[in-house]
């Protein structure tokens, strides 16, 4: 039942925040913060309670689950379940949710109630995606994330917000429809072969499919997730959406929405269609490596700070695709680690970019420079996150990318080499951020207020979690090891 509560709290608090916004601009913030914090505590509690349980093995290693009849006429059930992988991503969701609410505390001044309604509902959608194991429910949640995100970008975004919002919506919706067709094809193929018409993940595992149809259905899923992740060449919506979104929107997009793509590949694409995935792996891995290099090079070429950070996501998530399709223990551990750490470090970079934009009203690196002399703390924080993003040992991203490379080496040395070059390229863009914005002379004579207490809290929490993940990744790796044992 706790899974229902995790989602229901967000949905109800969203409605409440929306209504409270009519009378006060303060209440919605507190309602949102309280709701997400309660959920965070609940999720962490589930984690602590189940940590190190040895009885969980295999893909059926559900820690929590609920299963209700929903649309019995079509064999649709409201089946939610959580295993180690879901748990980690759910905890990440609430952690970044708190950060997103805090980061927009003073940035959002208009229509505060509706803003927090959308933030809470998009979080609810993301959590539902991570725990839905009925394919219909999964698709339902997948689509549900879009609308509030669209509003976040379209209403509170920057200059070209409408363009970015519509592009985001169209890309994800169209690819989602392909996934819907794939889901239904799987449903009917499975039903015709076994006589059981169901959308349940557990029953569809190992559905008897011919090699041809398996490949087509797999591609339907893969494209939907590849757009979200994003995989080169389906990434073009991402720089626009990330750049134009308000800070909270960028944090949620980069930290969470992209992860739903990676999660989908881990949970659905490979387990449901193992043969087709194996056959397709070389293509996917190559696309991943292209993404790593291409994202890094384009990131280096940007002058808009948020756009730069957006392209680094393309690069980092290339490692995730690579790790997933190598499909060995080390690479998968790396992929999941990268997903989590990228969520925090990129979210943090967007937070820094948002804090700078709030003060300077620009995102252009050319207009910055020498900020260390006026806002030393924020600059230090920015440097820290830039280093985390380039994969400095001691921080989480390093662990993830290192494990992916480690796992890829036996599979393909060429791809490992190329991906490793991507890490070098990461140094270039990370240093570009550090040098362009914070170092050098203060040419534009900026005199700005430094971090306030609320912002320091956000930065501190994110720095601490990145260090924790980098220095002691074992608890995280342990938590999803049952998932790995199952495959």
């Amino acid at each position: 039942m706790i899974l229902i509560w995790l989602i229901a709290i967000l949905l109800l608090a969203g409605l409440l925040a929306g209504m409270a916004g009519r009378w006060s601009s303060l209440w919605p913030k507190w309602i949102a913060l309280t709701a997400v914090s309660i959920d965070f505590v609940l999720a962490v509690q589930i984690w602590i309670r189940n940590y190190g349980r040895a009885d969980l093995t295999g893909t059926m290693a559900w820690i929590e689950q609920v299963d209700f009849s929903w649309i019995p006429q079509a064999g649709i059930r409201l089946h939610l379940a959580m295993d180690g992988l879901s748990l980690l991503l759910v905890v990440l969701t609430f952690f970044l949710g708190i950060m997103a609410v805090l980061a927009s505390w003073s940035e959002i001044r208009h229509r505060v109630g509706f803003f927090h309604f959308n933030v809470l509902w998009v979080l609810a959608g993301v959590v539902s995606v991570f725990v839905a194991v009925d394919l219909f429910a999964f698709y339902f949640a997948w689509e549900l994330m879009l609308v509030p995100m669209y509003f976040l970008i379209a209403i509170w975004g920057h200059e070209r917000r409408l363009y970015a919002a519509i592009k985001f919506f169209l890309y994800t919706q169209l690819s989602g429809l392909l996934m819907l067709i794939a889901i239904l094809a799987l449903y009917f193929r499975h039903g015709q072969a076994t006589g059981v018409y169901t959308f349940d993940y557990m029953q569809l595992l190992g559905a008897p499919l011919g090699p041809g149809s398996q490949m087509w259905i797999m591609l339907g899923f893969f494209i939907a997730f590849a757009v979200k992740l994003p995989v080169f060449p389906l990434h073009t919506w991402l720089p626009d959406a990330h750049t134009e979104a308000p800070t909270a929107g960028s944090i949620i997009l980069a930290g969470l929405l992209l992860k739903t793509g990676g999660y989908g590949m881990l949970r659905f694409v490979v387990p449901l269609f193992p043969d087709a995935a194996r056959e397709f792996a070389p293509v996917a891995m190559t696309l991943g490596v292209i993404g790593i290099l291409y994202g890094a090079i384009l990131a280096f070429g940007q002058t808009d700070l948020k756009r730069l950070v957006a392209y680094t996501s393309v690069s980092h998530l290339g490692f995730v695709v690579l790790g997933i399709f190598v499909w060995n223990r080390l690479a998968l551990q790396g992929a999941v680690m990268t997903m989590i750490c990228h969520g925090i470090s990129t979210g943090a970079l967007f937070f820094v970019a948002g804090a700078l934009q709030d003060r300077m009203h620009t995102r252009e690196l050319d207009r910055m420079g020498g900020l260390w002399s006026t806002i030393p703390v924020l600059s230090g924080v920015g440097l820290f996150f830039a280093l985390a993003s380039l994969g400095l040992p001691g921080m989480g991203d390093f662990v993830g990318e290192f494990l992916v490379l480690f796992g890829t080496y036996p599979a393909s040395r060429g791809l490992t080499t190329a991906a490793a070059i991507g890490i070098v390229a990461a140094t270039l863009y990370a240093l570009k951020i550090a040098q362009g914005a914070f170092h050098g002379p203060n040419r534009h004579r900026w005199a700005l207020p430094d971090l306030n207490r609320r912002e320091a809290l956000i930065a501190g929490a994110m720095m601490a979690s990145l260090l924790w993940l980098g220095l002691n990744p074992q608890p995280v790796l342990d938590t999803f090891s049952p998932f790995l044992r199952g495959i």
Binding site: I71, Q73, E143, F151, I166, L174, L177, A185, Y187, F188
Partner: protein, 473 residues
């Protein structure tokens, strides 16, 4: 001979017919807008209640002309509900305008009578009679506000095109009758297939039906008429008129086993594909909200035909569910247009909607829900409907059709979002009239149904199954 049981089965029809006569007499005695509107809603409510009495007598063949079975009663319920919604929307809409308002309701009731006859028809004669009662009422309704020139233009346009399409229909019926030797729809479809006159006749009938449904290539009139007609009447054309025609088509398409005939399947596939493509692409070019809704309704008929072309019971369920979702969302969307229209002009340009979210959050929220339902986004009935249509297509392996459906409906998102985006834009200095209470009831009910069917569709699916289990043809 018509016996007592027949009369009971016909009660809903009699109630609506009686209601129109009563409304006319009431006008003759004293013109009162409230009275006539109230009388109309009461007649519709009575007819709705009688559906259960009639259901006790169903399934029953009443004379050679009509069949009253679960299927017909299900559609009658939809038609009555939609008409009541239009009447309530029309009340607030007409209240703002000068002129004679009362005859509107008489025409509405006769139109619905025709629509109900169509839903229950089993004979070429009742088919044509029902269609003409509906269409003739529509001529007058579309041109109901003579002060608006576009309204008159739309009325004339509809008159000419509908009359010529009726001629095609009649000619087709004559050919089919010559081939089959019977006017009973079921018998006719079973008997005549070998005759050379039969297929041309069928194609001419399809032309007439296609005009009513406004599918490509018979769609040309739709945007102009939707734009010109008063907003509640545009809703009426989009829901009642199309719904009734669809009920008839669905029943006999399945009954005839026509899906096995390659030519008929091919014709409908081409119509479906071109409706989806043309409807969605042309809607992209519009800046007038009523025209956008008109083109989107063309596309929606295309989606419905996809469900319809899939075979089996799942296909019928999908088509009926989709139709319900479409009716609810379309009524809601046109409902918003009509409550925002002022006495001088209709709220039809995108400019009229700019910043609506900040001026009238409730109305904008309802409109967003309706548009998202038309776009097929979760939590709304439209999502479940689209899901069912795609799954009906997938079950019959109509891959080409459902891929086109997916792509074109993806394109469709764009124009729905344009309206939503306009509503979240910066507030313009426009003041809308206050929403009349009856219209508020309609909008609230439409939103409630939309969410109910979108979140927990099981009861509606049960009702559809029950209706289908009693289908006789």
């Amino acid at each position: 001979m018509i016996g007592a049981a027949d009369l009971i089965a016909l009660l809903p029809l009699l109630f609506v017919a009686g209601g129109s006569v009563a409304a006319m007499l009431a006008i003759a005695i004293r013109r009162s807008h409230v009275l006539v509107a109230g009388l109309t809603v009461a007649a519709l409510a009575g007819a709705f209640g009688c559906l259960w009495i009639a259901a006790a007598a169903a399934p029953r063949r009443v004379t050679a002309l009509l069949i009253v079975d679960g299927y017909a009663l299900f559609f009658m319920a939809l038609l009555i509900g939609a008409t009541a919604a239009v009447a309530l929307l029309g009340y607030g809409y007409l209240e703002m305008r000068a002129g004679r308002r009362e005859e509107f309701y008489v025409l509405l009731l006769t139109g619905t009578l025709g629509a109900m006859v169509l839903a229950a028809s089993s004979h070429l004669a009742s088919f044509f009679l029902g269609l003409e009662i509906l269409t003739v009422s529509l001529y007058a309704l579309i041109a109901y506000l003579p002060a608006r020139r576009v309204s008159l233009e739309a009325g004339i346009k509809y008159l000419i095109l509908a009359a010529s399409s009726a001629a095609f229909l009649l000619f087709g019926m004559a050919l089919v009758y010559a081939a089959a030797g019977t006017m009973d729809l079921t018998g006719m479809l079973a008997a005549g297939a070998d005759d050379i006159l039969f297929v041309p006749g069928l194609i001419l009938i399809v032309t007439g039906i296609g005009f009513k449904l406004a599918v490509v290539p018979f769609h040309m009139w739709t945007p102009d008429v939707y734009q010109g007609a008063p907003a509640p009447i545009a809703a009426y054309i989009a829901t009642v008129s199309k719904g009734a025609m669809f009920a008839l088509l669905l029943r006999y398409y399945f009954a005839s086993g026509a899906r096995h005939a390659g030519a008929v399947f091919l014709i409908f596939s081409i119509i479906a594909i071109s409706s989806m493509i043309a409807g969605n692409l042309l809607a992209l070019l519009q800046t007038n909200v009523k025209r956008i809704l008109a083109y989107s309704s063309i596309a929606h008929m295309g989606y419905l035909l996809v469900a319809f072309l899939a075979s089996g019971e799942l296909a019928m369920q999908a088509a009926m569910f989709y139709l319900v979702a479409y009716l609810v969302s379309t009524l809601g969307a046109f409902g918003i247009v009509s409550v925002l229209s002022s006495a001088e002009s209709e709220a039809e340009t995108l400019e009229d909607y700019r910043g609506l979210f900040w001026r009238r959050p409730a109305l904008a929220g309802v409109f967003t829900a309706m548009l998202l339902s038309l776009a097929g986004i979760p939590l709304t009935a439209g999502f479940i409907g689209k899901f069912y249509v795609v799954s009906a297509g997938a079950s019959s392996t109509l891959w080409a059709l459902i891929v086109i459906l997916a792509i074109t409906s993806g394109v469709g998102i764009f124009y729905y979002l344009r309206i939503v985006a306009a509503m979240c834009g910066s507030a313009a200095e426009i003041s809308e009239p206050r929403t009349a209470m009856p219209a508020g009831v309609v909008l609230t009910a439409a939103t409630a149904f939309l969410l109910w069917f979108g979140i927990y569709p099981a009861p509606l699916l049960n009702a559809i199954r029950a209706a289908l289990s009693q289908l006789i043809a």
